[in-house]
Amino acid sequence: METMKLQKKTTASAMLDPKIVVPAIRAAFVKLDPRLMIKNPVMFVVEVVAALTTVIFLRNLVTGGENLAFTFQIILWLWFTVLFANFAEAVAEGRGKAQAESLKKTRTESKAKLLEGSDRTCRLVSGTSLKVGDIVLVEAGDNIPSDGEVIEGVASVNEAAITGESAPVIRESGGDRSAVTGGTQVLSDWIRVRITAAQGSTFIDRMIKLVEGAERQKTPNEIALNILLAGLTIIFVFATVTIPSYAAYAGGSISVVVLVALFVTLIPTTIGALLSAIGIAGMDRLVRFNVLAMSGRAVEAAGDVDTLLLDKTGTITLGNRQATALRPVRGVTEQELADAAQLASLADETPEGRSIVVLAKEKYGIRGRDMKELNATFIPFTAQTRMSGIDAGSLSVRKGAVDAILSYVSGGVSQTVASGNTVRALQPVLSELGREVRTISDEISKAGGTPLAVARDGKLLGVVHLKDIVKGGIRERFAELRRMGIRTIMITGDNPMTAAAIAAEAGVDDFLAQATPEDKLKLIRDEQAKGKLVAMCGDGTNDAPALAQADVGVAMNTGTQAAREAGNMVDLDSNPTKLIEVVEIGKQLLMTRGALTTFSIANDVAKYFAIIPAMFLAFYPQLEVLNVMHLASPQSAILSAIIFNALIIIALIPLALKGVAYRAVGAGALLRRNLLVYGLGGIIVPFIGIKAIDIAVAALGLA
């Protein structure tokens, strides 16, 4: 699996990988620039108070003050708090940066063969000078200069640059696979491409910006969370700035550095420090999954999805149908048909072909034969002929789409006529056998199968029944989705009876049969009118309106340019089942934020119990009772709290990057579990942590 290869850099290793950590440490200091810090209000406030206390410390250093060593340590840890936050963000960005570097290499300067004028003369120009609407010729061995749409020709293209998949893919004009991406390479044949993206805004450009995090916009939930954190910070400003006056009334005084320590430990620095790292890591998880989200908003929306529209073919059923029965025409035995079908499929490596060989062996006892022994040549399937087979001496066997085979036996070559961008087969005059084949194939179609006609030496033998096979494990996936509260709807062009049969077998909640693009669009609008968020994936140009309408539209990378523009995510692997994982990644992103926010706020309880008694002990010795952790001394208590506050950021970076694991157990159970871990845990952990640090601080004689 390609995605597996790309996922090799796991989170745990990212924290240890010097290639990421070393630049991240440097970046942590660069990010101290207040102009960058202000984007993160909580950490900005910490930086400001750290700077203020530093100034006070320096003044005291000159004039000579008390407790200089203690003050120095507090200030040091204040700066560490800020640096750790920056480091977390830098580590998260680091992985994307590495990926962006390799992408940039593909964006090397290339020449383009620009076709000009009505006579389409070819001129060599620089790739960067191309404008939207220009038409270029790309031949075998050339790099495609920019994103575009194939307007003429068929070619195999190596898209490893963006997908990591080295097996070439077919790009052709007219169909649903007409989009080409700048930076990919044509391996064979030639195509004419109309440029659709200006320089700087091509797919690869966008991908680079995305993985670098350069254009990262705050997502709606992140904005809301930032408001909450800023609000809490202000509340704690009130709580701390009033304390000196209260202390003065009680006849005591409190130093600025102690107040600052209380303030910084109380404000939600943990989540404030990790918030942007969580967001970057969420996008990064998608990228490593070979899905490109055009905005963070889309990733978040994925977590909120209520309804999933899934295309039957390729998502619910194996895109490749399997042979399940042989239907010979009159005068031909099943054995005979099986023999011919097997011969035609011997060298056919497609799943359909292999399934015919398997069927012939299992049901008709025909063993595999060696192509070399037969001295046969394989006639591969092409988009033009739409059939395949072998020629061995005088023997010639073909199997393929019914129309193609019928025209093959009637005239020897398929008659096609080009009209605009569509290619239509002319209906050949049918023989009697031809009519019989047509009847059989119609029956198969009605039952939800796909017919494949077989001919030997120009004579029709019969039809292979290819059946939709529901993917293994898909039923369980749908059950899981149901537990998540997500409704699945299967979209298919099949008739309602076939659709119902497959829907029942796959366990989807609902289906839309004989779906036209308009039906899809209407279904999405209806769901949205009920307040639901809809996700779908699609590839064709006619999917574009629905992709644009859906809250989460995942376009297949193999699809048309129109589809890729309309969707808010692109799946580079073109695997529609991934929609389910995309939803999980969205949920994980939201959960991680919620969990760390809860943890951060719950931490305050212990910090209060550490600092409040320490602060007031000088004038109200009775408050020693509140020192429930029995911390060694007031100074050690304050220092321990601030050290814990800084170290917890580092400790939680792996969780922020990896994300909180999502389990499809329903919201109630999920909340119970997470509240227990991050809520209750958030109350208990700092008590233990601060006590442990206090023991160390006392042992080292730091305070």
């Binding site: 909450l228 609000g231 009033t242 009680a250 977590g303 509260g485 997500i486 926010t597 007031f616």
Partner: protein
């Protein structure tokens, strides 16, 4: 603590809970504009009022219009009270010949009554004429209560409506609330109080000769009618200076019990209105459960603290708990319960002096108010205050189920969080801020009756009570000074209106959103998990802010007291 004491407490809770459903149903009908059994009598009055006021009852308002209408309405209320107090010497119904009230005290009292605070810097029987009491205070008791309820209903509409621009009509809501809910109950309630022995007269103060032959003036007046709405509308401003500890303002144990019930009745029933309007009564019960948990914890602590008394009292041979500052007629249970109810509910009526409670017993009323008076709370204000915390709790924890947080079908997004934070922010700003100023200002410190932590608590309590629009006083503090009149008035004003405006903005933004049907992925908001979550968020976000101040006030006082140091 005694069994009979706990039975009293539980009986009280049972009656309040029993009233929730019927009263909730009735109020839902009223605010949905449906016909009720009162309509035959009241509908004609209602239509006449609309005609006089030029109100089109069919025309609903955008949240901004609704809020502006509410604010204008209060400007009017302020002018009426201020005018009456300044001019009462020239006006009728003044048998005791009370003179004009000082400008700063008039200002404080006017703000106090329009904000449903009813802080008493005045002594009713020695300062105010009957006209001021009736047309000024009683009248605002009705309208400030009706306003609170109307605002809560407007916020509920925000949750229950889908894709709408309007949240109701302020004039209609206030009119219907006053006519259909407050007035009928108060009429019956007043008669009950008169039966219990409360005065209701426009006659002059009574001159009496005591057994020793001394002359005594006994203050009377239209007491019962004012006390009814004072309790039902969680206003709390007493007719007499001693408030509900005065025998004429709270004559019997039964009147005491019914007064306590009436404080909670509407506030508790509003949770049911919420449940009904959002289409699931369990949502309302869950909110009431949150309030119930916090309430009973508070009652338990205060009752325990008061029943156990202090080591100092014990060393003097005084057993049986702390009776200082309590009416012998009510005793420890009814006084502790009353203190917790009145501060939980933003009422502020007192039947015992909170200043004389033990440090811990007096801390609970303080905490109740600092949490924002959301434990049942002021009529309306309690519910919308609680919903602010629910929104925050849902937002923080809701993300943990992997979805944009939703509450009763509404997504909680940036705007809601912003408004909730704005509304909650102003509370600590006012009471922590003004306390910080007061405790270092020599003239303000001079108002304290006690030194040390206890004096600190008196000041903290005063500003907390004012900001929370509670109005109960810790006593001890001499509040009728220029400084306190103005600062307390500003706390009351900010605490009320700076909270209301964001709440209404939130109502408007919620109403405009689509309602999302619940699914298995939706955070359940009716179970014990939700209740525990909200309680936790209230205690951590709401409570921790005050921990330093509490540590320097009641906590240190309690610890010192255990070491026999008194303040």
């Amino acid at each position: 603590m005694t069994l009979i004491g706990w039975i009293q407490i539980l009986l009280y809770c049972a009656i309040v809970v029993a009233l929730v459903k019927p009263l909730g149903w009735y109020m839902t009908c009223v605010f949905n504009g449906e016909r009720t059994f009162m309509s035959p009598i009241l509908r004609p009055v209602e239509t006449v009022l609309y005609r006089i006021g030029g109100v089109d009852e069919k025309r609903e308002q955008h949240w901004l219009t609704y809020t502006v209408a509410m604010l204008l309405f209060h400007v009017g209320g302020f002018l009426i009270i201020y005018g009456l107090m300044r001019l009462q010497a020239l006006l009728p119904f003044n048998p005791a010949e009370q003179g004009a009230v000082a400008p700063d005290l008039s200002f404080n009292t006017a703000i106090s009554f329009i904000t449903n605070t009813n802080w008493q810097n005045y002594g009713g029987e020695s300062t105010l004429s009957y006209l001021t009491q009736m047309a000024g205070l009683t009248h605002q008791n009705f309208l400030s209560a009706a306003t609170g309820i109307a605002l809560a209903v407007a916020l509920i509409r925000g949750f229950s409506r889908s894709s709408m621009r309007t949240i109701g009509n302020f004039w209609v809501d206030v009119t219907r609330c006053t006519l259909y809910v407050l007035l009928p109950i108060c009429i019956v309630y007043t008669l009950f109080l008169v039966w219990q022995g409360m005065p209701q007269t426009l006659g002059a103060y009574v001159e009496a000769t005591t057994l020793e032959g001394a002359k005594q003036t006994i203050a009377v007046g239209p007491v019962a009618s004012q006390v009814a709405i004072k309790m039902l509308g969680t206003n709390g401003g007493g007719f007499f200076n001693a408030n509900a500890a005065h025998p004429f303002e709270n004559p019997t144990a039964l009147s005491n019990f019914v007064q306590m019930i009436s404080i909670f009745a509407i506030g508790a029933a509003l949770t049911n209105v919420f449940g009904r309007m959002v289409g699931n009564e369990r949502q309302g019960w869950a909110i009431l459960a949150v309030m119930g948990v916090l309430f009973l914890s508070g009652v338990a602590v205060t009752y325990w603290a008061e029943a156990n008394g202090t080591s100092t009292l014990a060393s003097l041979g005084l057993t049986g708990g702390n009776m200082e500052g309590k009416e012998v007629r009510f005793g420890i249970v009814a006084s502790s319960l009353f203190a917790v109810i009145t501060t939980a509910a933003s009422c502020g009526a007192v039947n015992a002096m909170h200043d004389s409670f033990t440090a811990i017993g007096g801390m609970i009323p303080l905490i109740n108010m600092q949490l924002g008076e959301i434990i049942v709370g002021g009529v309306g204000a309690g519910l919308y205050g609680m919903l602010l915390f629910v929104v925050l709790a849902i937002f923080v924890a809701g993300l943990m189920v992997g979805r944009t947080p939703e509450y009763v079908g509404k997504k909680i997004e940036a705007r809601e969080v912003k408004m909730a934070m704005l509304a909650i922010l102003v509370l600590p700003l006012m009471y922590l801020g003004w306390t910080a100023v007061a405790v270092v200002l020599p003239s303000a410190v001079a108002s304290m009756a006690n030194a040390g932590p206890h004096g600190f608590t008196e000041v903290l309590y005063a500003f907390t009570s004012a900001t929370g629009n509670n109005g109960s006083a810790f006593a001890g503090l001499t509040g009728n000074t220029f400084f306190y009149n103005l600062t307390l008035a500003s706390s009351m004003f900010v605490g009320r209106f700076f909270m209301i405006v964001p709440v209404m903005a939130m109502a408007g933004s919620l109403a405009a959103k689509k309602s999302i049907p619940p699914s298995a992925g939706t955070l359940p908001t009716t179970g014990s998990l939700f209740v525990g979550l909200v309680v936790g968020v209230i205690l951590i976000i709401g409570g921790l802010t005050f921990f330093p101040a509490l540590a320097l006030g009641p906590i240190v006082e309690h610890l010192a007291m255990n070491a026999n140091a008194l303040f």
